[in-house]
Structure formats: structure tokens, C-alpha cells
Symmetry: C2
Subunit: 289 residues, 2 copies
Amino acid sequence: MTSGQLNRIFDCELFFKCENFQKVGAFKFRGATNAVMLLTADQKRRGVVTHSSGNHAAALSLAAAMNGVKAYIVMPENAPVVKKNAVAGYGAEITLCKPTLQSREETCRMIMEREGATLVHPYDNFNVISGQGTAALELLEDQPGIEAIVAPIGGGGLMSGTSTCVKAIDEKIRVIGAEPANADDAFRSFRSGKLLRSDNPATIADGLLTSLSELTFAIIRRNADDIVTVTEDSIKECMLLIWERMKIIIEPSSATVLAVVKENPALFRSKRIGLILSGGNVDLRKLPF
Amino acid sequence: MTSGQLNRIFDCELFFKCENFQKVGAFKFRGATNAVMLLTADQKRRGVVTHSSGNHAAALSLAAAMNGVKAYIVMPENAPVVKKNAVAGYGAEITLCKPTLQSREETCRMIMEREGATLVHPYDNFNVISGQGTAALELLEDQPGIEAIVAPIGGGGLMSGTSTCVKAIDEKIRVIGAEPANADDAFRSFRSGKLLRSDNPATIADGLLTSLSELTFAIIRRNADDIVTVTEDSIKECMLLIWERMKIIIEPSSATVLAVVKENPALFRSKRIGLILSGGNVDLRKLPF
């Protein structure tokens, strides 16, 4: 999508890739689908497993169902009922665990051993990363002449796929990661050259709380041009701008990409910029405005 | 746009014409543009005038500006500042008046006499009506095989244009008006064969408070197949459904068309239905959910 009003406000040409319209409401469906489709026939018979309470769980459940594969989803027992229902609605088998990373990983391992199921990690997985890269691929096919692409960074799956894909197509296109200043592990890792974590990150962009893995950090270090942090105020302001001017519903994580443009006008002026809106899953009863 | 989820919920194939993405955020831009473009050279030099505090004022202001025509907008002095700013932002000249219909019409007449400006009424105008009909025209061009089209009814401009256009293309396509039960003048007029008004209508669908005119009633009586009323609860529920499932922002008036499908499942089951979403201008700080 494009918006004449936003182009005038920011004095550049913006091309939005609307993953809020993607199945399950987020880009995660791309990676999950690719991972499921690339399983061997034997792996497909045994199913897939992941631990997640978010978009990846729903994405993997639907991708598995559409390919006739059984999905086992490990969720913390305190996960919101609406998320449990979404996953169950796609036909996945839910196993509840204690709300700790240790319990999630142990329960996952138990299912892998018992069922022979294949783990599909939300981002620490080459096939998932490749799938996420198809959003940028489609954007560049639709809009030749794009000079820079901005995508959000959480665990780094989307940015790994995006940067790898874009640089393979045209090294001159700049690839920039958008990260909340309040969860800036990728920014600090990129600058220092060492993988660092965010401890207790607190941001409205709840899809970007996760830290990079060794795998995604290695890919992003090689292929991304820069990582830029944005403030909470900018995220909220740009989320409202997109809702009001474009009449589309995006989650706060998606707004980080426009916030990068807003906070760095000199970098983008008069350029053709691709912005990946990562998703649109937001609680309409708890809006920040 | 289409939505697999909504198709499954309502057991039919829905094709949404998204006028929330139209310029100024509503179908009104179509009629205003057509009216301005069909002015004679002499009329264009003298400008256009209307009295409105809503979408038509913004639509006429922008349509005039894009065609190098001066627009005079009469607004009640108590109109919201944000609406005055929007109209002023398009370069129109605003004349404030008392918040009564009499004062609005008198001020309008005064400007017509002083400037020689042409009145462009929001719906009681053939060229405006023809312009509104282009939404249905595009929908039918994009989606052959549509068996029924549902559009909201307020003053009747959109329904007049829609029904005239659809019946000219294919008499067998059913054209149905969606009206809030709390502002059901068109429903009662259609059934009784006499033009009736809604007195003090109170509905969340604030774009549909207006009553039909003699002109729009005559056209709708001839070309529409039926008018169906919907409850306030249905409007709110369908508005939320479209926001949540389709990730797009629509105003309550737009939700009436899906509410018609929801309240009358037997009429629409297994059919291909066109739904005209009239606009997306809604105060994000005052949502009904």
C-alpha cells in the first residue's frame, strides 16, 4: 500500500508491505509454512512442535493443518484464553507447562522424544528465516527502484530473511532494522560485534521483546546495513498515524519502521523506501491512544 | 478485499469495496469529483459551495482543489476543530454560521448570490449520484458473478448511484440498502411508497442520520430491490468483526452492510455478495468496544 498523505508528511515515497493482512495476521505464517513444506515425508508423518504463546504458535498450527501435518504447541498455563482458542481452532494439540523458559523447553523436548516431532523454532531455524524473507522478495518484485528497506527486529528471523534476500537481489539496497530503544539488544550487539541480550525489556512493541540468537546475529551482522532504535513515543505516534491516514490496523511492532523514518528524516528524504509492517494482532480494547 | 474467515462465518462469498481507502476516507470523494469535473468553464471560474460539517465538505474541498476550482464551505460555528482544519487544509474558504439548517441554507444562498458559486448538494444532485455509482461499477468490473450488492443508506446518494449503475449492467443482480433500525426513514418510505422522515434519529452509524430527498427516494424506489434495517448491536458487532478479522478501519456506517448479511443468513447463504464499505473516518479515541 501507499499513502499520499504520509509521503507528503515524511517527504519521501513509502511502499508498505502489509503483513497485517497475512494469514494469522502476521509475517510468521511465511516462515512456518516454509518450514513445514520442507519437511521430509517421514518428518511430516511425525508432526511439528514449538513452544510459543504468540503469533508463531498460531502460524505453525495453521501451516501444519494446511499441509496435513500434526502440530504440538507447548504454551504456558497462564497464556491468554483467546490465544489458546486460536491455536486449538487450527487443530493443534496444546500441552500446557509452567510459565518458565525451562519448563517450556523441557516439555518441548519430551514431545520431541515421545512423538518424534520436529522442532520448528520461531526464528532460530534456516527454513523459517528463508520463509520470512519472501515478504521483502514480493515487495521488491512489486516495486522496482526501492532504495532502502526497513523491517522490525525482535528475535531476528524477519531481519535475517529480509537482509539475506535483499542483498542477494541488489547489494546497493540498504537494509535497516527497526528496534525499540527499550529492547535494544540487536542495536548494541550490532555496534559492539558481540551478541548481547536485553534484560527485562519493556516496550509497547510486544512482538520485539525477544533477543537475537547466535544464528540470526551472525546473518544480520553480515547482511544488514544498520540497526536504528526508536522511542516509545515515536512508536505510538506512528501507529496512530498509520491507523488514521491509511485506515489499516497494525500492531505496535509494525509502527517501529515508520518511526525510524520519522526520527531520521535526513536519511530518507526524497528516497523510495520499503517498510515491512510485520503484523496486525492487537487487543482493540487496550489501545495506547 | 476478501476474507476467508468472514466467508466461513457467514457461509457465503463476500467481496468488500473498500471506500475507507478512498481519498478523504469515504466514497463522497467520487460524487464531489464528478460534480466538479462536469461544471462548465464559466461555473469553474465562479467556484462551488456547500453546507456540511462532514465527509462531503472535505470531499468537495479536495475535488475542487484538484481541479483548480474555488470551494466555499458553510459550516456550523460549533463544528469540531479537526473538521474545520481538514477542510481548511484542502484550501477551501470556510464561512461559519449558526448551527441551524435555516442559517446554513441562508449562508449558502448568500454565497451563491455574492460569488455566483454553484451549489453541490451532498446527495440531491444527479452528478453527485452518478459519481457515487462508480464504486459499484468498479466492484462489478473486478468481480464478475456477484449476485447481490449491499450498500448503506443515509441521504440516499450512494444507494441511488449504486442501484442505477447495477441495474443498468445486469437487472438480475439484487441491490439492497442497509439502514440502522434507529434511523429507518428509507425503510419506511420504501415500504409505504411515501417519502417519510426520521425525526431525531439516534444511531452509532453517524453517517446515516440524514433522510432521503424526493430525488433519491424516486430513484431508490425504482431501482433498489429492498431496504433492510439492522440493530445497533449488530452494527457494533460487525464493525468489530471487520476490524479484528480484516485488519481495516471502517466507520460504523460501513458495518451496516455486513450486519444485513448477519441478520439474514438465509437470504445470502452460498451466494456471491458485494458489500460497499462507505468510509473509515472514526474517532479512534471514542470506540464503541
